[in-house]
Amino acid sequence: MGAAATMLPAIPIVGSPISPERALEAVDPAMKKRLADVALNAGRSRGATYVDVRIGRYLNQFVVTREEKVQNIVNTESFGLGVRVIANGSWGFAATDKLDNDSVAKAAEAAVAIAKENSRLQTKPVQLAPQKGHGEVSWKAPIAKNAFEVPIKEKVDLLLNVNSEAMKAGANYITSLLFLVNEQKYFASTDGSYIDQDIHRIWPAFFITKIDAASGKFETRNSLSAPMGMGYEYLDWRPQDKINSVTTLYKGRYDMLEDAKAGGRQAGEKITAKSVDAGKYDLVLDPSHLWLTIHESVGHPTELDRVLGYEANFAGTSFLTLDKWQSKKFNFGNNLVNIVADKTQVGSLGAVGYDDEGVQCGKWDLIKDGVLVNYQTIRDQAHILGLNASQGCCYADNWSSVQFQRMPNVSLQPGKEKKSVDDLIKGVEKGIYIVGDGSFSIDQQRYNFQFGGQLFYEIKNGKIDGMLKDVAYQSNTQEFWNACGGMADESDYRLGGAFGDGKGQPPQSNAVSHGSSTTRFNGVNVINTARKI
């Protein structure tokens, strides 16, 4: 599946409503260690050869407004314990929101019983990559301002101002929201790790609609913000965080008011924009757009569980089969294309100290000079790649979900030579400059994709020549990355990201960032999406 983050109705409301003050109450790590030990001991005493336990407190705050109204303010908390075991060589998992010794021990026993029951259907016993215990350690996201400490009134005032500015600029309707997340995760395992982590995420967003009453046509323009692994400081913008382009673009910090003004105006411009002529174009893709193409066409096919067939029944498999990796010469893209996986990037959605099976996180190459060189793995897959340690890609979206392989931040490296976005556009004879993410769809092995966007500008003979609409491009992943025509340098590098990437059965949500500089792709097929009903 893909990044549900861009669709407002897809926001997952996980957890139970609580008061804002309760979100600031801390849970004592000593209590968590005591409960973890109950689960570890209960699992072992029932015959498990490995046990891990996650005690998770998942806090969300949603502030949602439309036009001049506050629609909803919700604080939720989800607090409970999940225990995973290996017994008779098979995995078992159980979870409970009753955090007393008896319920926790029963959950561990249920997990062992499930593992034993399933072991008769297991063809090979689970093989875990070695992992040393870390002892009692902790990791905190390096945020400057805890968003949960910012008064609700300040958030409501910001959003109502955003709405007002968009309406003044011509919007007919606007929904704006702040979606804040704090994951307080405690992990313990029979390897001897007790890991306490504090993770923060923020997503400010708006969705504007402009209606032309006479024709009955309408257009939308969504915010150009990125969800980030940051605190409220993401909204404290500084002049150096802005990039002047056809519209202001944002690097690491976000001016929501300014973007709303631009959005209100641009939604109106879209109504009268020229409908695109279908055909081949050179595309110049801004990082606010390209993150989603990277996510779908690079992030997902390099997930080793998909490659092996573990996701065949839902998310699908991958065209990046092991033989392509083993050949050491599979040209995923041309030699301009360097893509890294990174669980440590500051401010990114995927940054943590340790993954959900106690593996310390790092950074590695996926595509080096265009060639497929690696995948994303967890402990029970590492041996398949001949690795003696996991790459730390294990994640569960809740205490009640079983952890499995999830995408780290996957990012396209900027160009090594000094090059601006203007330099890229100057070289394009017939092209389209695309800003912001839109509609997205890709096949189950990640070959054929189609993407829309928020803003489309026609490029004629090296110059921007007005706005286009009804644009979507289609390509094949390998052809697309081999058509890379260069990228801007590091000064243009920015993160985009998915707040709710879906995968697994039952489906779980993952937050992940994707960085890039503005990048050109030559001769891509563009379709016109206008229809009459």
């Binding site: 109204k69 008769r120 009453a213 189950q444 009903i533």
Partner: protein
């Protein structure tokens, strides 16, 4: 832990209401027990069991409303959650769209709970998967699948005297079979309230047969083709109509149901006159809850009748503003079918494509309800009433509204499950002309 009975749930909620000092108070109590088992590469991968219950208290003073929740049910916790919701309500900004809680309603007794499903054990789950794995072995295929069962209790009560209670069970099973050479792939999905209706062996045999038959597909040119959509493929397109019946969006001019000048297409013919779509919580083949989350009764209602848009869904606020009945969005939908089987539809097709499943459906343009996505797990070329050969997957760009105007034939209704939303529907196979495939995919 067992689900609370109606008497137990009502007694608990009455106690909660007795602590309330707000102008209005509403209590929702939900419990669920979920079990699942997942397998891939012919072996079980993960499996689990979760139990959770939540009490939600909503208190209001005028148009100021606060909500708080707890999952502990001793008296002190119950009082604490009421006080917290009242504090939040006092602090909240006024919501001009808050319309207060609903008074007492009359509901039919839902037919959604089947004891056998609520009693599924880890051994039963493993046995059902074992049957699927046996099919894989016999067919020399590689199986991946997912079986999920749940039992839930939902109850609500408020200070105006509304009382509602329902229990339900569901079991969904899906399986993908792939050939050893990875050149063929087949799929089947089934959903029921009653686990005894679930035949994982039969579903697995269908998936395995599709895998074998879909291997070594030929590429044909993208373009407009007559297609036969199996119910699972039709469902993922049609549900985008069901999800977009909101009256407010239509009235505001930002829906496929909006018209120039601020009017809507309510009451107008929008699709082929053979199209009838309705919802019915008491349908014997697909019972659903008889009330929705804010206490409104779910009733049998027609959405599209003889191709005409008959009803839209309303929030209570928007219905009050417009002076109409506040019809809630349905839990499911039913499209009336004909008498022909899928095989008969194929037999009557000169040239066409059989689409067994669609994947990764996304909105491209809400104005026309244009969707994109791809075929998956078995796509076949039909000529002279027979499946001739498997074909490579296509990307499509099509609107379900245009599709229902290009309707050729409607087959016999089946209960199916959306592979996008996991919702259950009663949907027939559809034969449609001029369905737009825009490019080829190499994916198997």
């Amino acid at each position: 832990m067992a689900l609370l009975t109606k008497d137990e749930a009502y007694a608990l909620m009455k106690k909660v209401l007795s602590y309330s000092k707000a102008e209005e108070c509403e209590v929702n109590l939900n419990s669920s027990e979920n079990g699942n088992i997942r397998y891939a590469i012919n072996s079980v991968s993960t499996s689990g069991k979760t139990f959770s219950s939540t009490l939600v208290v909503q208190s209001s003073y005028g148009k100021k409303m606060g909500v708080a929740t707890i999952n502990e049910f001793d008296d002190a916790s119950l009082e604490k959650v009421v006080r917290r919701s009242e504090e939040l309500a006092q602090l909240a900004p006024e919501n001009p769209e808050y319309v207060g809680v609903l008074g007492p309603q009359t509901y039919k007794e839902a037919k959604t709970f089947i004891p056998a499903t609520a009693a599924v054990t880890p051994k039963q789950r493993a046995d059902m998967v074992e049957q699927s794995l046996a099919v894989a072995k016999k067919s020399n295929a590689i199986a991946a699948g997912f079986l999920e069962d749940s039992a839930y209790m939902a109850a609500m009560m408020n200070s105006k005297g509304l009382m509602a209670y329902n229990t339900g069970t569901n079991v969904n099973f899906s399986v993908t079979m792939r050939t050893q050479d990875a050149k063929g792939s087949g799929y089947a999905i089934r959903g029921f309230n009653d686990v005894t209706k679930m035949d994982t062996k039969l579903a697995s045999e269908i998936a395995a047969e599709k895998a074998v038959k879909s291997a070594t597909a030929k590429a044909i040119e993208p373009g407009k083709y007559t297609v036969i959509l199996e119910p699972a493929a039709a469902a993922v397109l049609l549900e985008n109509i069901f999800f977009n019946l909101d009256a407010r969006s239509a009235d505001e001019g930002r829906s496929f149901l909006s018209k120039p000048g601020g009017t809507t297409k309510l009451g107008e013919k929008l699709v082929d006159e053979r199209v009838n779509i309705y919802s019915d919580p008491m349908h014997p083949d697909m019972p659903t809850s008889t009330w929705n989350g804010d206490g409104r009764p779910q009733e049998k209602i027609s959405w599209i009748e003889k191709g005409v848009i008959k009803n839209l869904t309303y929030s209570r606020y928007w219905a009050e503003k417009k002076g109409v009945k506040a019809i809630p969005g349905p839990d499911s939908a039913i499209m009336e079918g004909g008498t022909k089987t899928l095989e008969e539809l194929i037999a009557g097709t000169k040239k066409g494509i059989l689409v067994t499943k669609l994947w990764y459906i996304r909105s491209v343009d809400p104005q026309s309800l244009l969707l994109t996505g791809l075929t998956r797990d078995g796509t076949f070329y039909i000529e002279n009433g027979k499946i001739q050969y498997p074909i490579k997957n296509f990307r499509f760009n099509e609107s379900p509204i245009i599709m229902l105007n290009n309707l050729e034939e409607i087959g016999k209704v089946e209960r199916t499950v959306s592979t996008e939303s996991n919702n259950n529907y009663l949907i027939p196979p559809l034969k449609v002309r001029d369905f737009t495939f825009s490019s080829l995919s190499d994916a198997v």
